[in-house]
Amino acid sequence: MADRVAWLAGWVLLALVMVPVALMVTALWQQSADVLSVGFLLEDPGRAGRSGGIAALLISTGWILALCLLVAVPVGLGCALYLSESLPADSRRAQWLGGVLDMLAAVPSIVYGLFGYQFFAITLGLGFSILSGALALSLMVLPLMIRSAEQAMRAVPMGYRQARDALALSRWGWVRRILLPCAAPGIAVGIILSAGRALAETAVLLFTAGYVLRRPDSLFDSGRTLSVHIYDLAMNVPGGMPRAAATAVVLVALLVVLNLLVRRVLRQPMTEALV
């Protein structure tokens, strides 16, 4: 009897979670219906964002994302390699480093923003710029990148490592020809997840990349990302709601695509083994 009730109750809970999300999606869709079009993606914004599209923002977002990954991926890989190859799994140093990474992942994004503002914008003199924003953002996604890559590397079968030792192969040869190719799908997933995280971030960029609405001319120019644009239109621009919603739809669509990509990549190793 109790089980019956519980079974029904579960449906209520499910609805409690799914319904607001469904409402959210429909509300955004409705708000943005008049504005969404291919033109929206190709036009630059006008009148502080009240009219026009998001082309300039797509460009800025692209730059910030690209730079962020350019820094975070190599450093993340290096750190993951250090964790999986140089440190025995249960050593004190490995645990300690894991703790540091967890801490970094727990730091609120606004605090990264403060740090980025003080260190990149002011101390390093980069000002409000794409560069500042990308660097601050790369720090934020670093723990995620490291953890994904490390997991992928540790999953490489033990047998390969034994053969490597018995044959006295060099570390660099091992990394280059066996470890990285083997761990590649997992690393790719890490990169995609990091990109998703970076796209979703706002607070970090407020005081590092700035707010400027037009297309950036250089990396030292300020630039606004999609997420910051949503915030600005919603909070500071009367009449900005429809375009805020439209930008949100574009952003969520991008993230859904990334999510699907992750699923795609994770399924690939299966077919590799069968070939």
Binding site: W7, L13, A106, V107, G113, L114, Q118, T202, I230
Partner: protein, 284 residues
Amino acid sequence: MITTSSLPLSDRLLTLVLRLCGVLAALVLGGIVVVLLVQALPFLINEGAGIWQSTWQPGQGEYGMAPMIAGSLFVSVLALVLAAPVAVLLAAWLRYFAPRLRRPVLAGVELMAGIPSVVYGLWGMLVLVPWINQWVPPGASWLAGSLVLGLMIVPLALLVTDAALGQLPLRYQRAGEALALSRVGMLRRVLLPRAAPGIVGGVVLQFGRALGETMAVLMVCGNVVQWPDSVFAPVRTLTANIALEMAYATGDHRVALFASGLLLIAVTGLLLMASWRLRGVSHG
């Protein structure tokens, strides 16, 4: 790996680079703390006690953060109270009552977890706040913040609970089935209590995330610096405060904001360590 002095140059270079990378992560964490401290320390020494006052008037040198600390806590706690039971019970339900739904729902939940906080906040502004306004104005309030934040917490809390339940040895479930115990009974008496440390640890982690959340609460809480007298009153969180005022803060005002950032890092750090303890994660 080989430990001989005749390692090729590429290997020695690689080892060096890797060690640098490993150190980098620690440097970043240290750097953040140091930068914040350097900015905030003089302020904390001189006016430290002032933080705990209730008046936030930077223009007049009043830096009482208490209402905002309260704002952060209240919004996060209520969000947790609303979200955690739903997430935990839903995860248990998916695993033991509706296993066929589990994969698709978890996939959907993963997607939810990736939706940016500004989008949640946007929805809050568009729909939730006006709706609450119909009942009790102004709408932008503590309740709105907790509802939106709660919705954001559910996906991750659900995933964490699912993972914790997944680690339970199968024999518990089998034993219960063999004895024809009700699943509710099994959950209450055996499964949930066993998984509790992992679940609670995960929930504590989410609490930390909630405290650190900025954009969504910024957009729906009303941002008035005050002690709320009801759930319908507008509040301002510490995080929202930084976001709002950093742009034009100077001198002591600016430094006070850094101090609040330090406070945030300290609290989330402590919560993280508590979460480690609960989940049995050893991080030295």
